[in-house]
């Protein structure tokens, strides 16, 4: 045993509830269960309601695969459906809705990427949106879903995400975790006991006097951040100057007649309405600011705008956007909303949780002294959270909604330098600089910027080496390719019916 410190972390206690706690339990048990690590969940009462839905980003598919989940069983158990992207409605007073597909736009022409050709064509008067060149967007808008063929994959990146019923997802995660040997202890109120010298947490003491000891504590308690924020007093950096909403109204509506394979965000006069379709219902979230409208007005607006029959299950929760100044202090790591609260736009919450867990496994402490891991983790997570935040801020900053004080103020607001630089370079050249720890890829940023109407001043002149007639020919071929393949795809409904047999859709 030459020179290695063999004192290992033997037991992890995850304190919290719902998706954060149970996804953490699965991830840790799967990655480190074989190394003798014990994983225990001190479970607080769940706060999810039947009307809560979750929308993921495409990266969740791979994370699930690493966790050993079977996609069809998951969607069957959770009443889930597929998502090919998001539709943004009414973010401009004049322009039509735009689509953010989970896939690429166009193919390269003579080994030059598609974007400069599209910019050039737009400058010459072409009136075809970037999303028209996305197979993913086209399929979504026509209610289709598909398994990519080799020919389709050669055309470009084709990803998808999920819409899930939150409560069922938690039940699924919990069952999987228990099967892996994770132990669960119900908990209500608790105190944290700390080592007077190191400040490390040594145990949780429940109201009835039980003590739960551990080497490492994961705070999965949600926005309250009971362990990191409250017991360890780690400060909160608010992002409210960029995110206008401070309340979320959640309600369920009837199932849409044909199930869209995408989610929708509608800009309202003083907020946003998010629609997340799952197999047997439509999840609605209305994000607003209570200095502009009351909860009652928010509910009325939701019913009016959604045009759906709503269940009488509306609830309102506060929304706090921002991050804990550090996500890892001593032997305590906050994940999910305990580390960072996001605006619901772009469905980033699940992904932020997943990223926090992936980095935690990557930096799992080798000894009880984890100061170096904490230092690295905090730096990575700050960057990761801020890159997501920048992407979200762009929706508000770039809105083109006229004569609405709520939106006028957002258009005028100061934004972080990192985002301002991206916007400036895009305007200059139609390219997007990507930093380390970026979550959204170039395709996502192009959809965002062009969707909100930014048009670059110039493009990569290498595109000029292809004669215009050639480029037009390629454009026509691409549009033809997309049309031809989308026509052959089955509807999202039929796809679910066929592949997720015995699903909720059948039983209700």
């Amino acid at each position: 045993m030459t020179g290695l410190d063999m004192r290992q972390v033997r037991k992890v206690v995850i304190v919290g509830r719902d998706v954060a706690a149970w996804l953490a339990a699965n991830a840790l048990a799967r990655a480190l269960g074989g190394t003798g690590l014990k994983v225990e969940v001190a479970e607080l009462p769940g706060l999810l309601r039947p009307q809560d839905t979750l929308a993921s980003l495409p990266q969740l598919e791979n994370f699930h695969r690493l966790l050993g989940f079977d996609e069809h069983s998951l969607l069957k158990a959770t009443g889930g459906s597929y998502s090919l992207g998001q539709s943004f409605v009414n973010f401009s007073s004049a322009a039509p809705p735009f689509f953010h597909p989970y896939g690429s736009h166009g193919g390269s022409i003579n080994r030059v990427s598609f974007m400069p050709f599209w910019i050039k064509a737009r400058q010459a008067g072409l009136n075809v949106a970037l999303e028209e060149f996305s197979l993913t967007a086209a399929a979504a808008k026509q209610g289709r879903f598909f398994t990519p063929t080799a020919e389709m994959s050669a055309f470009g990146r084709l990803d998808y995400a999920y819409h899930l019923k939150a409560q069922s997802y938690v039940q699924f995660l919990k069952a999987q975790a228990l099967r892996r040997g994770v132990e669960v202890l119900p908990l209500r109120l608790f105190d944290a006991r700390r080592d007077s010298e190191t400040g490390h947490i040594t145990g949780l003491i429940s109201a009835d006097g039980r003590v739960i000891t551990g080497d490492l504590f994961i705070d999965a308690t949600g926005p309250e951040s009971l362990l990191l924020g409250q017991a360890l007093s780690v400060g909160f950096e608010s992002w409210s100057q960029w995110f206008p909403g401070n309340r979320v109204l959640t309600v369920s509506g009837e199932r849409l007649r044909s199930l869209p394979a995408y989610s929708q965000v509608r800009a309202l006069s003083s907020g946003c309405l998010h629609l997340t379709p799952v197999q047997d219902m439509t999840g609605l979230q209305h994000v607003y600011n209570d200095t502009h409208i009351t909860d009652q007005e928010a509910l009325e607006a939701t019913a009016l705008i959604a045009g759906l029959r709503l269940q009488p299950d509306a609830v309102v929760s506060p929304l706090m956007t921002g991050r804990r100044q550090q996500a890892w202090v001593g032997n305590c790591i906050a994940v999910g909303e305990a580390a960072c609260g996001f605006d619901p736009i772009d469905n980033v919450g699940m992904h932020a949780l997943q990223t926090g867990l992936a980095h935690l496994i990557d930096l799992f402490p080798v000894t009880p002294d984890s100061r170096l891991e904490a230092h690295e983790y905090n730096a990575q997570m700050q960057q990761s959270f801020e890159r997501i935040r920048d992407y979200q801020i762009a929706h508000y900053k770039l809105n083109r909604i006229d004569n609405e004080p709520f939106w006028d103020r957002l258009r005028a607001m100061e934004i972080p330098d990192t985002l301002a630089y991206k916007i400036e370079l895009f305007k200059a050249r139609g390219m997007v600089p990507l930093y380390e720890e970026e979550v959204f890829v170039a395709d996502d940023w192009l959809a965002l910027f062009t969707g909100h109407g930014l048009m670059p001043r110039s493009y990569d002149p290498v595109a000029d080496m292809t004669p215009d007639a050639d480029a037009i020919g390629h454009f026509q071929k691409m549009l033809g390719f997309i049309k031809q393949h989308v026509e052959k795809m089955s509807s999202h409904d039929a796809f679910i019916e066929r592949n997720i047999a015995g699903s909720l859709a059948k039983t209700v």
Partner: protein, 515 residues
């Protein structure tokens, strides 16, 4: 664009001709719809530095990008193959390790190999780390063969670069460029005119009286930065407190039997000495700090260390390690030594030229009034590249226990950038190495130098424990055996070069005479 952007490259060293070749190879020049009108101005009277005889594997991508035939390029530049760098006496006297162009082992159970090795080593059962590295095993035995295309094969776990004569490479690229419409002008710059309103460069006036106007100027004039510094005063950031070498004495020697498929670097009292085998000779040099040794003493040390007859008197180069504060400023772009200088210890000179060229092509201006955002993005990307290389070089000097010379004491005790300190601590604590999106170096490079210079990992990734001891040992032994068996079957480097691209001296002479 109405008329092509007029680009003027000043300087015909390796940087200038690499730049000219890329612009003429990738963009059609000399046709009526050309994007660019490129001219290169150089003077045969001004010598080129050409210390960049050892390269990194990325140079192959550059040549491929231009569509250059490898065997022909190697014949023309008297090139040999390179699998990495041998570092002698770095860290401590008697030390000998390799920085390979290839991986250590293969990842297992989702964990990088070095973690498994640290664990096996702690169990007292591991062979030396380099036994699990294909590139090092082949290099140690002075062998060479192309990597396998089959990603499952252990023989696919390395890449390679070249040693070549940089002067011949420049000549080869000149021919390539001129054949594709590049206009070369012989002459020395007498004067430079600026636009009075913008302060941009307007034209170069040559001693012949000819005036060459341009929209964009690429300064490849070397250390002095004739345009970027002498005209535009972009400023210099000095890094010599971390990298104190400021001189190099270079001397060619006869080819000997020591025909290694790697670059050799030997740490000496006041710097380090290189040996680079070419087909027809070997390049040698002593890169040193004038604060720690006199020129005479350095000269004597170098000549005393040569293993073959010197073919010329040593040539002295002076430099200051550092970086131009803005490598693209107004309408002037710098590529090569005018942009920054980092000693050739890790053969990064031509890589930095290459990355500047490819980044420039991605940001090629589409209008004659150049958008300053393009320069800003270029500078952001290139800054990252230089800083990454800088930190990696500093590590070689900092991680040492040598007590025989003042230079090593100085560098051991200097304050290093936090960006490097963090990396060293992460490795020592848990064998973690950086894995960036942008810039050099890759994880195996960090592992080789950290481990090679006795920074030992005290811990490893916990996920490695998912494999039990017996399985781990079995996998390591199998890997080691497969590497040995495959390297046994590899040809010697000398034979491989002889078959693939060797030009017999008599034939080379005849070709020379025919010109």
């Amino acid at each position: 664009m109405n008329s092509p952007l007029r680009v003027v490259i000043l300087g015909g060293g390796t940087s200038g001709w690499m730049c000219a070749a890329a612009l003429s190879g990738v963009l059609k020049l000399g046709q009526k719809d050309s994007l660019l009108d490129v001219r290169l101005v150089e003077s045969a009277e001004i010598g080129t530095v050409g210390v960049g005889e050892a390269t990194l594997p990325q140079i192959k991508d550059f040549n491929d990008y231009l569509g250059i035939n490898e065997a022909e390029f190697m014949r023309r530049t008297k090139a040999t193959f390179k699998l990495g760098i041998e570092l002698r006496d770095w860290g401590k006297l008697g030390n000998n390790y390799h920085h390979p162009f290839g991986a250590f082992g293969m990842p297992m159970a989702g964990v990088e190999f070095q973690h498994h090795w640290t664990r096996a080593n702690a169990l007292g059962k591991a062979a030396p780390l380099e036994d699990y590295c294909y590139a090092i095993q082949a290099a140690r035995r002075q062998k060479f063969d192309f990597p396998s295309e089959d990603k499952q094969s252990i023989k696919s776990t390395f890449s390679y670069a070249y040693h070549f004569d940089a002067g011949l490479y420049a000549a080869f690229l000149r021919e390539f460029s001129e054949a594709r419409g590049l206009k070369r002008t012989e002459g020395k710059v007498k004067n430079v005119t600026l636009h009075s309103d913008s302060g941009n460069i307007r034209s170069l006036i040559l001693e012949s009286g000819e005036e060459i106007e341009g929209d964009l100027f690429i300064d490849c004039s070397g250390f002095r930065g004739l345009l970027i510094e002498e005209q535009l005063m972009a400023g210099w950031e000095d890094w010599s407190k971390w990298l104190p070498c400021d001189r190099a004495l270079a001397v060619p020697t006869e080819r000997t039997a020591d025909f290694h498929s790697y670059t050799r670097s030997t740490a000496l009292a006041a710097g380090w000495q290189w040996r680079i085998p070419l087909q027809h000779r070997a390049g040698n040099g002593y890169c040193y700090s004038s604060a720690f040794i006199s020129e005479d003493e350095a000269h004597k040390t170098l000549m005393g260390n040569l293993d073959g007859a010197a073919l010329a008197e040593p040539k002295l180069l002076r430099f200051t390690t550092g970086r131009r504060k803005k490598s693209w400023y107004r309408n002037c772009l710098t590529i090569g030594l005018s942009s920054g200088f980092l000693e050739p210890l890790e053969s990064t000179s031509l890589y930095l030229v290459q990355i500047a060229i490819t980044t420039f092509i991605q940001l090629l201006p589409s209008t004659k009034s150049i958008d300053p955002k393009l320069a800003e993005e270029f500078n952001r990307l290139i800054d990252t590249e230089y800083k990454r290389v800088r930190d990696f070089l500093i590590l070689h000097y900092y991680a040492n226990t040598r007590t025989d010379a003042a230079l090593w004491e100085y560098t051991r005790n200097m304050t290093v950038p936090d960006s490097l300190k963090d990396k060293i601590e992460q490795y020592r604590h848990r064998g973690r190495v950086p894995n960036y999106k942008d810039g050099l170096f890759s994880p195996p490079s960090w592992v080789s130098v950290l481990n090679g210079q006795d920074i030992t990992a005290h811990g490893y990734d916990r996920m490695a424990d998912n494999i039990d001891d017996a399985t781990l040992m079995e996998k390591l032994e199998t890997m080691r055996g497969r590497i040995q068996a495959s390297v046994d079957a590899m040809p010697d480097h000398a034979d491989f070069v002889g078959d693939y691209c060797f030009v017999p001296p008599s034939k080379a002479m005849m070709e020379g005479a025919a010109k």
